[in-house]
Symmetry: C2
């Protein structure tokens, strides 16, 4: 069902990373629901987490552990978000780290916990304990695809990608997995992404790379504006490749950032392509803004508009809805006589009014496509932003209305 | 189909106000689409307009005329919004005022024009001219209900109300009409409201009353966060009653404001009850906030969440979605351990975690109702806000996806 996306073929192993996945029984349907990612000593790690004030216990604990130590393992369960679970939830998150650290003979704070699934229910601890005992038996360098499937909740397609580059004559691999049906469901979906590279990267620079790249990928997608209590993205650099340690002064730093950006953009866009009920993959680009933040705000206002989204679903070139969204986005000193609007390369609005050469047929041709670009020129500055979104379909309402029934 | 709302019975005439409505032929379906409200000399007038930067030609012109003169007539057409229509649209708006002013023997800038309907199409000027010639023949003090029907677009129920009070021993009447299926459709719905009273009210105070009351009524409702290019609310005081002129220093000013508030809240809530596809009427109250703006922002974040709205449609007490919306509303220094959440009087979350005495059955009982109150206590201050919203149903998607097909 995903728009222009199918299951990935091959994911390259990353030296220093082993993974495993199993069906612990947290999900009721017998599918894989527990994943462990084991990291060799000597790695560096960066991470970004949800900004939601109601963040889940594992998010709070993962942040704490990351501030204290370098992770040796990531423990991810699907089927239960361990969110809204109070002090018991925190104790359960700690206990799960204790269990895995005993198996792997590392410290408790070298384990980062992640959970995704239903909010407000306690983790089934005996089931989780048995699952941890089982999953550690299967760890292997080649289990990336299994891990990508093990972290899925309502996803219909596994999301994974590998890229390679050369640094100091050394072949470098970046592999990543992600899950999420587009943040559309804070009690079920949750965006999680785990990325690893064998490059040797200095910690502060690794965090800077991740933060910059996330801003243009995972923080540039929306299905419905709902952000999860559990969102997280982790980037591990194992330093197994023999490149000189990369830092912000390195000449070829941008090579690494570019490939990392490719990985994150692919994974972020994959989440939108697989958004619940999505029938369209829509790029929204806003340019000639007074700041990047302004451009992104206008783009999100368009992307969040239920009216724009239902028009996209209907393949209806109903440009008045886009214009109305631009008009209410709160742009300071917006001169509507400078605003242009395009669907792909078709100019619909020029200088604030319908373009003389626009016809309904031209707009309809673009709207009939599965992939569409909405482009707005604000005529006020030189900054721009691009985000990706999906449409609002009957299927979206059905999935989200009927989920628990 | 409206939730708890049927067609109004009787609307009291207001001395100094005459109205008329006719089927001019702007709407294709033969329904009434042209309304004139004629105001006797000596009235005062206040108005609020859409904040959308892409406001329609009639909005720009109405603001200009109001700044120049006191209105003697309001000209309202449904079926065409005269928005996104450029210079031609402005000339057409001016011409329509010229035509009506000639008929009524007043000045052009004593006519305020209002349009609601499809964006991006020019007004059918010969049709409009013939309609104006026809409609002025029918003006009468008793045509409030006809006018309420004449301004409808996708509304299923006419929205009108009268209230009375006594000032200085004089009986005062306030009658008002509104249209809109909940701002859900900037190219079709548009919120318009016209209210008149026979009270004698000083102009500046009248504007202050209207602005204050609109903030708690028409600016406290949402279906989907989309605001129209044409929204307007006009309040006329004809001064035909023999009360001493009311101003902000008047002892009984609050009596007038209270009744005006009742009128506006009824009309605003009627728009939500009649929102396209609505099956629920939902009150969202946020208290213990650090400011009214913060409280309103949290309330709107909940009310705009497609996940909360689909859960409401499904009568699913899926409180995790409400909590997640509160968490991403950007409240500064939110301590989640102080947050309480109620559905009607059922406490779901106490101090940030599921309440001990909460059960799914209790939540389900409230959710099964047609009218529901979501109440959030932020535990951070003393300010509060209440807004009204509807759910997100299959019917919403169908109406907005299929409208032009």
């Amino acid at each position: 069902m995903a728009v222009g996306l199918s299951d990935p073929d091959e994911i390259l192993p990353v030296a220093g990373i082993k993974l495993a996945s199993c069906a612990a029984g947290i999900k009721k349907n017998g599918k894989h629901d527990l994943v462990v990612i084991v990291v060799d000593e000597g790695a560096t790690c960066a991470a970004t987490f949800t900004q939601n004030a109601f963040c889940a216990a594992p998010v709070t604990l993962a942040k704490k552990h990351l501030s204290q130590n370098t992770p040796r393992a990531l423990l991810i369960n699907a089927g239960n978000a361990n969110a809204g679970t109070g002090e018991t939830g925190m104790q359960n998150a700690i206990q799960s780290c204790v269990w895995l650290s005993e198996k792997l003979q590392c410290l408790t704070d070298q384990v980062l916990p992640f959970s995704t699934g239903v909010i407000g229910e306690q983790l089934p601890m005996p089931v989780l304990n048995a699952g941890i005992n089982q999953v550690v038996k299967n760890i292997s360098e080649d289990s990336w695809l299994l891990a990508a499937k093990g972290i899925m909740t309502t996803d219909t397609v596994a999301k994974a990608i590998s890229r390679t580059l050369v640094l100091d004559g050394q072949k470098i691999t970046i592999s990543g997995i992600a899950k999420g049906s587009g943040m559309i469901c804070p009690d079920m979906a949750t965006m999680l992404s785990f990325i690893a590279t064998d490059a040797n990267v200095e910690t502060d620079f690794l965090q800077q790379c991740l933060s910059d790249v996330v801003e243009q990928s995972f923080n540039s997608i929306t299905v419905d504006g709902d952000t999860s209590t559990n969102d997280a993205c982790v980037l591990i650099a194992t330093a197994k490749a023999n490149n000189r340690q990369l830092n912000k002064a390195s000449e070829d730093a941008s090579l690494f950032v570019d490939e990392l950006n490719e990985v994150c953009q692919f994974l972020a866009q994959a989440i939108i392509r697989d958004a619940e009920g999505a029938t369209k993959f829509v790029t929204v680009t806003v340019s000639q803004a007074q700041s990047t933040a302004e451009a992104k705000n206008v783009a999100y206002t368009i992307a969040h508009s239920p009216l724009v989204k239902t028009a996209l679903f209907a393949s209806d070139p109903n440009w008045g809805r886009i214009l109305a969204a631009v008009g209410r986005a709160g742009v300071e000193q917006l001169d509507i006589n400078n605003v242009n609007l395009y669907l792909d390369d078709v100019c619909i609005v020029r200088n604030g009014s319908v373009a003389d050469d626009y016809s309904e047929e031209k707009g309809q041709t673009v709207m009939n496509q599965e992939e569409i670009t909405i482009r707005v020129e604000l005529g006020g500055g030189n900054d721009s932003a691009t985000i990706w979104t999906s449409d609002l379909s009957h299927e979206y309402v059905r999935i989200n209305a009927e989920y628990r029934s």
